[in-house]
């Protein structure tokens, strides 16, 4: 109960906009998230079809598991499958960090923002 309350208090303190959603390739390793959008206006249609076909669906649970050295591909777990894709293509997927990890993710996102 205590924990839930803390979360409840913490949540409104976070900026509600950009810090909740981030492109998949910026998602820190091991942080559970959910897919918000796949593709979009600027992403090409083929990529969108391919991603949807492989199970990148809006609402699906997603987590970054492994990253290859020197900017190599990412291995992400989408629902129950592990899929490899390149960071550039992962950028077409917007994700939202699931609430339990908001504090962790907010820090990581801030870090990623500074780096960018």
């Amino acid at each position: 109960m205590q924990i839930i309350l803390n979360k409840f208090v913490l949540l409104p303190k976070l900026p509600m906009t950009d810090h909740h959603t981030l492109p998949l390739h910026r998602l820190p390793k091991g942080t559970p998230a959910r897919i918000l959008t796949v593709g979009g206006s600027d992403a090409d249609a083929t990529l969108e079809t391919l991603l949807l076909g492989l199970g990148f669906e809006e609402g699906a649970a997603i987590e970054l598991r492994h990253q290859g050295a020197f900017g190599g591909p990412l291995a992400v777990r989408v629902d129950d499958r592990l899929v490899a894709l390149r960071p550039a293509d992962a950028a077409a997927i917007q994700v939202e960090v699931t609430p339990q990890h908001n504090t962790v993710a907010a820090g990581a996102v801030a870090g990623a923002g500074q780096a960018a």
Binding site: T46, L52, G55, G68, A69, R77, D79, L82, R86, D89
Partner: protein, 621 residues
């Protein structure tokens, strides 16, 4: 024998579809190619419980009915009845991975719209149980409106239920229970709608969510580690090539001994006629020197098949992606290129899974640089003859190390050639990698054996046909015209082959090749390993009687200098001569220009590499 039903087996890649196909059909299967398009076509038959013969074709794996690559086109056309190559199936069996249901069910929803009976084989039930996943199968069938039969393809489980479903009475009863809806005429709904529906169905049929398999997760933490992963991959490849040598040594000795025994028997049993010479010098020496490499090819394929079936191969593609990107390729090209270690032909065909045409072309162009098993005979022969079998420490043999180096040289040249191509002739946007990393699984022994049996059959058929014919042709060229009575040199010098070899020697002498090698390279056009057989024939016809009995390696030790042997090895890293590869490249690229380009650049590289090796080693040794 007429068949009662024609089934099409479909499913996502990694659904265990091929394993199910193997379990259903066993040895009653035929592996061939789709004419014109070189995607592997696997078809077979099995008996339903009442003895009816059911034919089944294993269509290439696909995620949707909207094809993204050439092999997906085949599946879609066959299912839609648009294919000239396949009969329109009477029913569709869709193999779905129980542990990964959402994406698979979405595909079932697409299939259901085709207006054909669809049976879902809910596969990998063992993995589902292992992960604690519980499914309400009746509910799933009810929601989908199609029969669902749980199976474990790798363990035969559920296959009886599947075979029983196809018995006459059960089959009609099945479709009374699950009426087939007519073919949907409206356009396919957007994929997101199908996804939503699939999600709803799976949620309704799931009694207990599975937990992620811990072992797969832990294994991946090591295998996909940014530093550890590539090291493990290198170690695996190294062990693989060491094993090809160490384990094959004994069976190769037995085959060699049997061939020598057969030659001696023939020599003893027959008078000294042309026919005896044909049998001993042409057929036995030629074909025997190729068949001897069967153990090595089987060992190599055992490794490749196990790595594929266990789920590691996709991980290797993941690990190799960064390096492949530097060459302008994608990690996905790693699988066609790794198959090319066995033979460039399946490798070039496997390039069909690459959706970008430029990447595919680049992959096809460099595939022959991967050391195919047909080069193994050449490498083994020369290494055995010229590289001392010393231990360089830690149980690592020098011979294995040289072999590893030759493979590595092939890989590095492939990456360089690909990078150059991508910067010049096949310039384009960087390719993408989108690849499922399947769950780890213990491979089924039957699947491995069926795979090995297929490879052995293909190899021996080649030995029995194309290689045998080239050997007989070569024997003819090397025997006629007969030498004059006052001949002072070996017979072969006076023959047609001798004259051709002398002619070619003009081209090859600068890179250290003698006329015997020059002759051997010609029939080597048919298949690279024929060069070994050709050397066997040439030397057994040119030498004294001792040469026939002693092994070719011993003969070469005295006939060749070390620089020549090394130059020959370097030539074979590139070795352009393989008609089958060129024919497949022509078919796949649909361009004579690219085919000629492939031959030309390989020849140029082979010539330069062999020449450089010859002159450098001559200067140093």
């Amino acid at each position: 024998m007429s068949t009662a039903l024609n089934l099409a087996l479909v499913g996502n890649p990694n659904s265990g579809k091929s394993s199910l196909f193997n379990t259903l059909t066993g040895s009653r299967q035929k592996v061939g190619n789709y004419p014109g398009v070189t995607v592997e076509r696997r078809a077979g038959t099995f008996q339903a419980s009442d003895g009816r013969i059911i034919s089944v074709v294993d269509l290439p794996g696909t995620y949707t009915l909207t094809p993204n690559s050439p092999d997906e086109v085949i599946t879609c056309e066959a299912l839609l009845g648009k294919s000239d190559l396949e009969q329109t199936p009477d029913a569709i069996v869709c193999v779905a991975d129980a542990t990964n249901l959402r994406v698979h069910i979405r595909f079932v929803l697409e299939l259901r719209r085709l207006g054909k009976p669809v049976v879902v084989a809910l596969n990998m039930m063992d993995l589902a149980k292992r992960d604690g996943l519980e499914l309400d199968i009746e509910r799933l069938a009810q929601e989908l409106g199609v029969p669902v039969i749980p199976t474990i393809a790798v363990r035969r489980s559920g296959i009886e239920d599947l075979a029983k479903a196809f018995t006459g009475d059960d089959w009609s009863a099945l479709w009374q229970q699950f009426p087939v809806s007519p073919r949907a005429e409206d356009p396919t709904p957007p994929v997101r709608d199908l996804q939503r529906e699939a999600r709803r169905i799976v949620a309704a049929a799931t009694l207990h969510e599975g937990l992620e398999h811990k072992l797969t997760r832990r294994t991946d933490a090591v295998v996909l580690h940014p530093v550890g992963g590539p090291l493990i991959l290198m170690a695996l490849l190294f062990v693989m090539f060491q094993a090809v040598f160490a384990w094959a040594a004994a069976p190769m000795k037995w085959i060699d001994a049997s061939i020598v025994a057969l030659q001696e028997l023939t020599l003893a049993a027959m008078p000294d006629t042309l026919l005896r010479s044909l049998l001993v010098d042409g057929v036995l020496a030629g074909v025997g020197s190729v068949v001897i490499f069967l153990p090595q090819i089987l060992i190599l394929f055992t490794f490749i098949l196990i790595l594929e079936a266990s789920g590691y191969m996709a991980r290797a593609a993941f690990l190799m992606d960064r390096i492949m990107t530097m060459a302008g390729l994608n990690g996905r090209a790693f699988i066609p290129l790794l198959s090319s270690f066995a033979c460039a032909i399946p490798g070039i065909m496997a390039a069909r899974t690459i959706d970008n045409p430029r990447d595919r072309l680049t992959t096809i162009m460099v595939a022959p640089l991967m050391t195919c098993s047909a080069r193994l005979p050449v490498y083994t022969l020369i290494i055995a003859a010229f590289i001392p079998n010393t231990d360089v420490g830690g149980g690592v043999g020098l011979q294995g190390l040289v072999m590893f180096g030759l493979y590595l040289a092939g890989i590095i040249s492939a990456l360089i050639v690909a990078a150059v191509l991508k910067k010049t002739l096949t310039k384009g946007a960087p390719p993408r990698l989108l690849l499922e990393l399947p769950k780890y699984q213990v491979p089924s022994v039957r699947d491995i054996f069926i795979g090995l049996y297929e490879r052995a059959r293909i190899f021996l058929r080649r030995a029995g046909t194309i290689i045998l014919l080239s050997m007989i042709a070569l024997w003819g060229l090397a025997t006629f015209p007969a030498p004059p009575p006052d001949a002072t040199e070996p017979d072969i010098v006076y023959s047609a082959a001798g004259k051709i070899g002398r002619g070619l020697e003009v081209i090859f002498a600068p890179i250290g090749f003698n006329w015997e090698i020059s002759i051997a390279l010609v029939p080597g056009m048919a298949a690279r390993e024929v060069a070994v057989g050709a050397l066997g024939t040439v030397y057994s016809l040119s030498g004294n009687e001792d040469a026939v009995a002693s092994s070719l390696a011993t003969v070469l030790q005295t006939a060749w200098t070390l620089p020549t042997a090394l130059a020959f090895l370097a030539w074979y890293i590139f070795a352009p001569q393989c008609l089958s590869t060129l024919a497949v490249a022509r078919r796949e690229t649909n361009s004579w220009g690219w085919t000629v380009f492939m031959f030309g650049y390989l020849f140029a590289l082979a010539y330069i590499a062999a020449g450089a090796t010859y002159w450098v080693s001559r200067a140093l040794l």
